[in-house]
Amino acid sequence: MTNVARELRVTGAGGGDPTERYQLLDIQFLTELYGDDKEYAACMLETFVDSVLPEFAVIHEQIQAQRWADVHPAIHKLRPTVLMVGLTHLEASLILLESLLFKQDQADRINAIWQDFYTTLQSQHPLLEAEWQRYLTTPNL
């Protein structure tokens, strides 16, 4: 796990009101994807937290280094993953970033949109962990 990914876990360790979970995770879409297959849902959430978040951390480094040619395919590849964990509200930022990166201009705008996206993604980490645990531990979910 990269340093950035480790930092994500620490940052997201705060508690918060459990009812807020449903404000940012698209539970309806998760139900559409996974139905009542809790193991499947838990596996996807686990993979996102353990494997995909570190990949977003790598993109963060690439953006800071303005390696646009690497960033575009990486964002395109990972776009479906945010939907797969119910972060449907984050997809619009990634679509916009892909579009700006395709033209390879407006570096300041790309940086600003990315920063906003990445900060929000980091803030969702505790919710994702909680949802993952909920799928693992709650019978008759």
């Binding site: 559409e32 994807l33 996974y34 139905g35 297959d37 499947y40 596996c43 996807m44 993979t47 996102f48 494997s51 995909v52 395919p73 395109h76 590849k77 990972l78 776009r79 479906p80 993953t81 939907l83 797969m84």
Partner: protein, 230 residues
């Protein structure tokens, strides 16, 4: 019907998701999960595959690049986050086109489409198994196996004799032998006969529709073993 399938996607969650959905489906068997098109080409060269779950945008070789390299296309379901590839998908005659992430409902619909297409292909194959199409006067004529008496080698060509006519075809005896069904047997280097049309057999020849056909010594045991002798 169990369909052997492979999953090709450069993104881990997509691979895991498809693998899970396939493993839950009674008609699918996952033979390989590939991270790129090159890996998939290796698998496809090693064994027959019925269905490919194929991502479009991958580094180095895209999904379409992979399809371009296949001599015969199996059933293909494209999986992508973009909808812009619909026209290309149509051009490649893929069975279905799924937008990521893939819901369980949409997955099942896609598999049903594949099963329907496979059944249709199987029916076509069964019809083709009862006849061959022979080029005659610039068109292909259907010649049912049951109508063929024997095939005679005439040098560069072979002559297919039916009760009504003879067709001269530019091919080899070996190639034709492989195409014809099990009711045919090569009894001599110059003759393939329809076993159902034999009138009688002597020591070194047999008769099919008044034509005397030689039997080679090497082919005789196979001939006799294929006949219902008393």
């Amino acid at each position: 019907m169990i369909l052997k399938c492979i999953i090709v996607d450069d993104e881990r969650m997509a691979r895991l998701s498809l693998q899970h959905l396939c493993e839950q489906h009674e008609s699918l068997e996952v033979v390989a999960v590939c991270e790129n098109a090159t890996q998939a080409l290796t698998v496809l060269a090693e064994q027959p595959i019925d269905l490919i779950w194929l991502d479009v945008e991958m580094p180095d070789l895209s999904g379409f690049d992979l399809l371009d390299r296949l001599p015969v296309l199996p059933q293909v379901i494209l999986t992508t986050i973009k909808t812009e590839y619909a026209f290309d998908a149509f051009q490649y005659q893929v069975t279905d086109y799924l937008k990521k992430p893939i819901t369980q409902t949409r997955f099942k619909v896609a598999v049903e489409k594949v099963i329907t297409a496979m059944r249709k292909n199987e029916q076509v194959r069964m019809v083709n198994n009862k006849a061959i199409f022979v080029k005659n006067d610039g068109r292909y004529v259907r010649v049912p196996y049951d109508s063929i008496l024997y095939v005679e080698n005439t040098g560069d060509y072979v002559k297919i004799l039916t009760g009504q006519q003879a067709f001269i075809v530019y091919t080899t005896m070996k190639s034709l032998e492989e195409k014809l069904g099990t009711q045919f047997l090569r009894v001599h280097r110059s003759y393939i006969i329809n076993l159902d049309k034999i009138v009688d057999i002597e020591e070194t020849n047999l008769v099919v529709a008044s034509k005397v056909i030689p039997i080679s010594r090497a082919n005789k045991p196979e001939l006799m073993s294929r006949l219902n002798l008393l």
